[in-house]
Symmetry: D2
Subunit: 340 residues, 4 copies
């Protein structure tokens, strides 16, 4: 950590700053330039509390504080050089295989989810996704089947063998959803719902953490850090589009984060081109692009009859298009020495 004093800061102010640093338990190294003084902080500053930094930064004679240390630790590649590979019912996420999660936005009925699951299975995709608890923008919109939806998902799993990915929205539901799901999903709107993240840290199921549509890289990894800090090491990071001015897509899919996450963190990274674009006509090319830039998998909304989907019909591809996507994804994966 480096403290840059304001031009004109005097001796006593420099000394005062040095004393504050000492009080925090660190050493200093002072460097006087022509115009200003710079104080290097010596010691393991990763342990310093953000509050202490904010207070220093607010000191009138301090211009700027530069932190090289990252606000997250457990999730970082520096902490764990080895890729985290998560085993779900024998399927590895973050390993050699590219995983594909597919299914409807919403579980609508037992028949619907079982039919879709069968198609997902036959396409070669490896996880069934589908929402039982749904975050909807307006209160009058359909809020999901709740526990009944979870039961239908479980039946679909029994018939196809596909493990289940489904969202949990409320701290009070974590236990319930854990009983049915293989992977618990945190939606984009809840990425900084810290109560929920803490609850998931105590849980023994892998968590699929979607990037908040407003989240910087640091905030995204810090949210994952909450879960790891609670004791749950199995987190899958998911890029799903951010909020920008660009209006030809529902969100702007920020694929550049894929190779950056892979180098900053040891956690697996997947991409959601359905929510990331909101347009079923470009789900396939963006899924392929995700694999081409290093993603460990994709999650896509697919339905046997998208036009009858209860939600997200705009961005849901047909299960027959899913078969097409899987075919091309296989070829792309091989270019990178991976398989599907």
């Amino acid at each position: 950590m480096i403290i840059v004093m304001k031009i004109g800061a005097d001796e006593s102010q420099v000394q005062e700053t040095i004393d504050k640093i000492k009080d925090l338990g660190f050493g200093t190294h002072v460097s006087k330039g022509e115009n200003r003084t710079i104080i290097g902080v010596i010691g393991d500053v990763s342990s310093i509390d953000e509050s202490d930094v904010e207070r220093l930064r607010a000191t009138p004679y301090i211009e700027k504080i530069v932190r090289v240390t990252k606000p997250y630790k457990l999730v970082s590649r520096d902490f764990n050089k080895q890729d985290t590979v998560i085993d779900v019912d024998g399927i590895e996420i973050g390993g050699k295989k590219i995983v594909v999660m597919a299914g409807p936005c919403t579980v609508e009925s037992k028949e619907q989810i079982i039919n879709i699951a069968k198609e997902v299975k036959s396409s070669g995709a490896t996880f069934l996704r589908g929402g039982a608890f749904k975050p909807r923008t307006a209160p009058k919109d359909f809020q999901g089947l709740g526990e009944e939806g979870l039961k239908f998902l479980l039946e679909a799993k029994e018939q196809t063998g596909l493990p289940i990915v489904t969202e949990v929205m409320d701290t009070r539901d974590v236990e319930l959803v854990s009983e049915y799901a293989d992977v618990l999903q945190v939606g984009t709107r809840n990425m900084q719902n810290y109560s929920l993240l803490k609850e998931l840290g105590k849980c023994d199921k892998p968590v699929l953490l979607k990037r908040g549509m407003w989240a910087t890289l640091k905030e995204f990894l810090s949210a994952a850090e909450y879960i790891l800090a609670g004791g749950n090491k199995n987190v899958i990071l998911c890029e799903r589009g951010i909020r920008t001015f660009s209006d030809f897509t529902r969100n702007t899919l920020d694929l550049s984060i894929v190779p950056v996450l892979k180098s900053e963190s040891h956690l697996p990274v997947i991409v959601d081109p359905s929510h990331g674009t909101g347009r079923k006509d470009i789900v396939k090319p963006m899924a392929l692009a995700a694999i081409a830039c290093g993603a460990d998998g994709v999650t896509v909304e697919a339905h046997t009859d998208p036009q009858k989907a209860i939600s997200d019909a705009d961005q849901t591809i047909s299960t027959s298009d899913l078969h097409g996507l899987m075919g091309e994804a296989k070829y792309i994966s091989r270019v990178f020495g991976r398989e599907i």
Copy 2:
């Protein structure tokens, strides 16, 4: 609602669309142009489910669906022409008086909050704000005093008479926080935490709803709609800055939303220039600008010794600066026939 068919859509497709609309219980009015056909939907389309619209939009021969109806109803000015005025311990929010909420980011100790509360009181501000449950970006940062902090807030209230505004983050804490606080705050990160919004809809305390830093006007008002739909009519809308590329402030304070919210909704609107800018040097001018464009009040972070604040030291003004702010705010308020 208007349905624009694709160029080349044929008779049978037009008929199919008309049938779908009829199935939903609405009438139609068909208009054939040179290139394309347009179908007007007749009836009270405000009751239509968003899922039905999404499904229609996903139909291959439909180009576009135009909805004039808004996704929110109870919060809208159309529904309630009269300004909502919320009475908290005899202080009106949304009435003639401009309200000022002030206090530290975090409740640090009994002494701290009582000292600050006394200064807030003497400045003429009308509410004491302060966090007991804190949303922090990193898990290792101080997470607040919890219930102990609530008790200190209550003691500060007893000594000064200032009603308390404090954040609630978890559905499981709503009851607890309600016992101590006069106004429950929903932070920006939880604006679309629907479980929390539903819980607050059942609660009898006013809710201060902060705009999500990613939220459009529609999403903001729809989040408020969740609370009203649950039965709680007392919601205060708060602009607190949005995420943009602009980096000289922590967020971009979107003041234009103030007059637009006042015309779209009957709910009171306040502004948070502390989080909205992240810079204590411009909190005062932006607070005055907020009043000048029609806000019903402001909420600012203030501390007797900002450099010792446990969080947000960057953006917290001193209580002595708060006195200065109140002075100028009084003059501005009078220009608009309001008082402080």
Copy 3:
């Protein structure tokens, strides 16, 4: 075009609107709903002037005007179903081959550009890029070699056979740059410099139009429309990143625009992962992703010794890395039945 009247608009206001439409030379079709009246405009509204629409929209009793017609025509796929293939010295842009443009940000010296050109050539890339006129954020930064730089580029072309892509910034320089360059580049900052676009419309060289970092899809295609409207049909569209809050990259590379541009327009589309990310460590994966989602080529900054590059050293890959990129790009291209 559809005109939605406000709730409560009366007969005379509807009639007034119908009269205005007639004055503009169009027919109308009126549809009365329970709450409001909707007027469909009949005729070829693509010819309507935006000013007339704006005036209508400003009418107090009109709620909203919906235009289905796009503001661009010549660049659209509707106007020209066939892909535009641009031939530059026998190399086709927009055809079966994926084009790769490579070279330094800035032409620094004769030796530098010739050495780089030889490496670019041997890597298998097909165009040499390099700036002689440089847009620099600060006036004190190096502004390029000007005409001397163009001469060096020409010499590099003579020695390698690589056609030249270089930027033009001033209407007064279009003629000069045309004498040397094979493709004229419009930088992101000039995407809406309409004087320059008009001048390029009169020119006989292909134009590489970079998306403004603030530009919507409509604005991007409308900028291209200026060039086509002037008579120059040879425009290459280039995605190079947009301005968003996301700060781990210099810009946010918006790859989703690639398949959308390919379906909206007949013009070739390339991607610039160097400016699009500002990070040389992720140029390769993002270049591969660009090809995977359908781009007709990429343009990358490459230098024999990036650490000595006079500008953009952060995002410039070494020519040896360029060789690596070309190798993988070849495999990806084949998956899509293309070659490099």
Copy 4:
């Protein structure tokens, strides 16, 4: 300037860095921490070329370079403590008086501009604004009257005494526009049209520089630096809204930049609430807010009959509303010891 070495950088790499700094003519001060070494650069680093910094930053064993020095100098408050006050025909911009520029988006006819000018004059506003050369998104839209429009503006000036503000878009037109206009406007799209900025640096008329809708504070001030570096000290900075996801306004008016520009720079600052919001219903409150947060003036689009305006009818207020705005602006100005 501070250079942070990567963890693990060895002695020889530190020495190499020190040597590079010496070659650039600066001294160094080395500080070794537990994990990494930090090198302070001693001397007047404001003269260092950005290219040299970029090259250093690209060095593999360097983690980060921190520059405290700003990329602009002449425009900064550090360089010139005194407010720049620009005298135009006896009217001061940046002085005690709040200036109001008003007029139509486009000069449509002699009669139109003269009628509007008279109303602008009688409202108490001090400048007449109006476009003769118009930047339009689509080539088919009306591009302005050109020199004829300038002549009409001059006639309006002769009849009312109001100095003229009008846009220049092409380096080739600077001389022509200078003959007619009192203040030359650079539109948002041309903020980084460096050829134009350089040409204006050589001109003797004040320049009204609009912020690019994508521009950071640094980029905005650096664009102004181009004009000052050319010799023209009379630049007025104008906030006019930035591109964000927020869609209830045409742009997001970033008022927080007003107090920050006033503290960072000595140049006058005005605000354009017409383009900044795109909504005539909120032009007045946002103009008042601009004055409340410290702007030296505002520029608004006003028309005797906005519904007949040839462009920007959506955001143009009537001249009768302009009278109302002036009245309230007077009261607000007085609160801050200014006049109108």
